[in-house]
Subunit: 236 residues, 2 copies
DNA sequence: ACTTATATCTTGTAATTACAAGTTATATTA
DNA sequence: TAATATAACTTGTAATTACAAGATATAAGT
């Protein structure tokens, strides 16, 4: 049981929170590395590791001789990032509504990604959810997970909780990467109804395969996005 | 004039070259950090910085207690990656047709990204291109570049050549990263005509801002994609 | 033969020191 | 006053040391 969160990770969390909560605003200069050392009682390599991660995640820009400048609030929906949908828009305004509770079903014969034999044998945990941002449905999300070493997952409460959060806290599963295909398709049938779009209106469709720290466990999802108001944002 | 390339950057370049050239193949274990220290005569923090960058770029995965494993060759870099559209599908089958040759125009007042004062003053090199895959139009690409230190660019031949290729070979400009917004929109007017889509059919729209090794030079583009047949692929 | 413990590998975390290089404000000089 | 030089910041690079923690192969025990 590890409860020790590394110090650089703690500082990263603090600074990120300060940025997302507006204590540091876009364009603001963060305290210098040496100041952060004094404030949080750590040394420069540790502070630099935190800032490096923040810069990697796009929260700040570092300028030699100048300092670290807050770059942007991720107000665009950053579904392209690794951390999953929730962390991108902030947990506050995003509500999750379960449409089909997690059930164990066999895999489709023509599943969108290639499955390993182990995945095929173990069956598929299937669920459908709707994510609402400010009461407006934005994502219609169909998730598929291989039924590998995830006890009692079908009976868990998913309401207003991120799937990633549950996997992390209860099963120690972290997403490490993945791949996706993106298309623009017309909203048809229930997709349009869920997302409150007219028949044939454009919808963004993502097919994602996420890799985890468990090398045999992948998370698959088919996500339909209403991009009328919001864009999908990504850095690279 | 700086010619001193940092040691961690040198090692990064070497290892990346070895990976892309197949000396280290996918799944291979890289030499351990201590071995790399000995081989290249540097210390572990320096080696770790190189490996950290490689991991960030997706070339390797690090596993505590195990080592660094080559993750992938970026063979199907999607349009979401840094290298631009061309490398995504391979230069072979992709043809570029110029619709509006590069011209110097003032920037739009409500440009899709925030511009620096220098960019605003210098004006905008504007061009429109159509990219065809197997004779089918896939990308309708509108590019914007600040007119900073790019002599004679409006008179260059762009036919069937990548913009990135020209910038690299003639101006030593490399794309180092960027951000983008993605939407699904209806095909309207000339967008639909260029991409041979019916009025109102879904189109993928990307707004990209690419950063370069020249810190004041950014490449902007607005890309409309016909995703009826092909998907946009991305890894992260 | 199989299980278990140990040793030894790996990467992760973190403090310390030193200097280089870019930026900016201040002080100096013409 | 205005241009220039300097000082005082900032982040970047890099070597050194120490221990923690995860993974794995080897040896010992049953």
């Amino acid at each position: 049981m590890r409860t020790n969160i590394p110090r650089h990770k703690k500082l990263y969390d603090i600074l990120r929170k300060h940025i997302t909560e507006g204590i540091y605003k876009e364009g603001d200069l963060l305290p210098s590395e040496n100041e952060l050392c004094q404030i949080y009682g750590m040394t420069r390599p540790t502070v630099r590791q935190s800032l490096s991660t923040l810069a990697n995640d796009g929260y700040i820009r570092k300028h030699q001789g100048k300092g670290s400048i807050v770059h942007r609030l991720p107000r665009d929906i950053g579904i392209l990032s690794v951390s999953g949908t929730t962390s991108a828009v902030g947990d506050r305004n995003l509500k999750t509504r379960m449409i089909v509770k997690p059930v164990l079903v066999p895999w489709d014969d023509d599943f969108m990604f290639v499955l390993s034999d182990m995945e095929k044998e173990s069956g598929c945990i299937y669920m459908e959810r709707l994510r609402l941002l400010d009461e407006v449905p934005i994502f219609y999300d169909i998730s598929y997970i291989a039924n590998i070493n995830l006890p009692r997952i079908t009976s868990r409460q998913f309401e207003n909780k991120s799937l990633f959060h549950i996997l992390r806290t209860h099963y120690h599963i972290e997403v490490t990467g993945g791949e996706q295909r993106i298309k623009a398709i017309p909203a048809l049938g229930k997709t349009g109804r869920y997302l409150r779009l007219e028949e044939g209106e454009p919808v963004l469709h993502l097919e994602r395969k996420l890799e985890t720290n468990n090398p045999v466990l992948f998370l698959y999802s088919s996500i339909y996005c209403n991009t009328k108001k919001y864009s999908i944002f990504g850095r690279f």
